[in-house]
Symmetry: C2
Subunit: 380 residues, 2 copies
């Protein structure tokens, strides 16, 4: 494209299925419960119907998939993480042998787990079969975003394409829901830089303690983000250049994965701050994207709240998590499945012979009139 | 007892297992994740260990039980609910045939469901085997608490005893966790009256819209609660008399169930506002009770927030639910199970060969020192 952006590949995003959403709202009103009493589960059931379409609105979320993208970050050399960069490869290995949090949660919810190496520095030990693993290495980690662009545009686009390819494979497998996550020492710094750039907010508002920085290290991390923004002067109207300058290989992979899953009408459950940054980039490329996304949880990272507001998403869970690895996204899956199952399996007032809510006011002595007690329903 | 209270039956509540809690905290620090990064899941794992004891601290919550107690309320005649009183029996029948929200959620999490009739007005149709059902009727509903005591002390204590008996049966069945809930048209009025009485707060602060009252009906409901408090002048130091005057048969059953489950060291997951009122009564009888309780969710009812603060409980979920039937409690079970499974199944830094967090500061040029990169762990 003349301006070098990657907006057009995602332009075919279908509108939400408004008819399906209306039908779900109507059915929710007939189920044997007070109107609206399932709260956020009702809005999730409506949203999922809009994403998936009418014929899938009541299909339980049985085929569950988790995709964790991993890569290293040159900026880790600036001391912005509580952990050494070697932990990225070690944790990917841990996911392959089954010892990471994500493995436990994947087993618990019965989800397929795919771990993708988009640029982990050094070798990932090849042992272990607890997760499917794909080597799709684009570079040996990113360069230090505080002194040069983290990636070339070609590298970023290659990572986006790998994410898109995986999304198409998941769509071919007919999965019902995908939880997305990441692993990469230093990637909260990249996510902070992307979030500050795309929301045009001060880095101090969107940079947090990550894996557990103390006050001094946090101040250093904020300074690093400021340096990066001063150096690259990112244009929020050019999300692709912003992604290349400030992002990460796993973040770019997530951008493609998230956007292409939306194209395929598969609900995407975001995890925390890193996947939120990827969603911000994706939403900049595809403005109609956010209603296709589900925020699995609200992270402790201060910038995550900013991202959720920018995307207009209400998180399902709020458990002070800050682990990554898609952990908060996976924990939301049983809640999403409950929303669909309640819609599909509950009886209606008519079918169960249950009386609906009364519209009539009580009589002068405060007693309901006889009409209130005959069981006629006002919920249709 | 000379003063007529029922405190002593629960006096044998064992202390929380502090040793188990310390051991869990230590293990959480060795797992392959940043310290504290599992947030509320970590505090839940610690709490569950304290309740269950060391030998069960890592046992998944496999045997799940749901107990829903149902009864009618004389105060429903005052027009305090959007639904006619007949709905209590109809919804109990719906639970027996499998069409209620609770049936769907019980199936989803693989929980045994027991529905107990403690005083549903009129006959509950006997059809259906979707839930175990027990008829333990003490009265044909309560009397109108705004004109006379809802129950005699003997009725309230009989209902408490049924709850205790069920708790002992569940303990004999070796269940791992119990979600408690209720059904009873009019019972948010009783719960509001109990909450106002026991927290000594104005009824306007703890009375909400229940199943969906409009402004006029809400004002009437608040007035009814005020009348009841003015009539009975409940003494918060006498929870048993307060329960009899203002409570309900299902609430009294829940008081006994909750307290006796705590004696049996079985984690109790509370649902919303009605079970919260029962927990307040139980905590008045057994002051060391609250740390044994888990708040499954935060209800929309304004008085529920007050109850949770009084009990010192942080809810697991916050989904704007206001359904009852233990629905919010059941939805929390996968989260609780995740907390235990992560504790039990994740690898440790040592076992997985993953480097821990660095204690050292970066060198003068911002690079971590070599010592940070050798993989020695500071997390023990």
């Amino acid at each position: 494209m003349p301006d070098g952006r990657v907006a057009s590949p995602f332009a075919s995003l279908a509108p939400l299925d408004i008819g399906a959403m209306d039908a779900v709202r109507a059915r929710l009103g007939r189920l044997t419960k007070p109107a609206g009493s399932l709260g956020q589960l009702e809005s999730l059931a409506v949203q999922l119907a809009g994403i998936r379409g009418e014929e899938r609105a009541t299909r339980p979320l049985l085929r569950r998939s988790i995709v964790v993208m991993a890569a290293d970050h040159g900026v880790a050399a600036r001391g912005v993480s509580a952990y050494p960069a070697a932990v990225t490869a070690q944790m990917v290995a841990n996911m392959r042998t089954g010892g990471a949090a994500i493995n436990v949660l994947a087993r618990m919810v019965g989800a397929d787990l795919l771990v993708v190496d988009l640029g982990v520095a050094g070798a990932v030990p090849s042992r272990g079969s607890a997760a499917r693993f794909r080597s799709a290495r684009i570079a040996d980690g990113t360069r230090d975003l505080s002194v040069e662009p983290a990636m070339t545009r070609a590298e970023a686009l290659a990572a986006v394409d790998i994410g898109r390819e995986i999304a198409r494979e998941l769509a071919a497998d007919d999965v019902d829901v995908v939880a997305v996550g990441e692993m990469g020492i230093g990637n909260t710094t990249a996510a902070s830089a992307l979030t500050a750039a795309l929301t045009v907010l001060d880095p101090g508002l969107v940079t947090g303690r990550g894996t557990g920085l103390d006050d001094l290290a946090l101040a250093r991390k904020i300074a690093v983000v400021r340096e990066a923004l001063a150096l690259h002067r990112p244009d929020p109207a050019d999300p692709c250049a912003t992604l290349a300058a400030l992002g990460g290989l796993e973040i770019a992979g997530l951008v493609g994965l998230i956007a292409e899953l939306a194209v395929a009408r598969i609900p995407v459950v975001l995890d925390g701050f890193i996947t939120g940054a990827a969603a911000l980039v994706a939403a900049s490329l595809v403005p109609s994207l956010p209603p296709r996304l589900i925020a699995g949880h609200r992270s402790v990272e201060p910038g995550h709240r900013v991202q959720l507001e920018a995307l207009g998403l209400r998180p399902v869970l709020d458990l002070d998590l800050r682990l990554g690895e898609a952990s908060g996204a996976i924990l939301a899956i049983p809640i999403l499945d409950a929303a669909v199952r309640l819609l599909a399996e509950m009886a209606t007032f008519d079918s169960a012979g249950v009386a609906g809510a009364s519209r009539a006011r009580p009589g002068p002595h405060g007693r309901p009139s006889d009409a209130d007690r005959t069981g006629s329903t006002a919920l249709g």
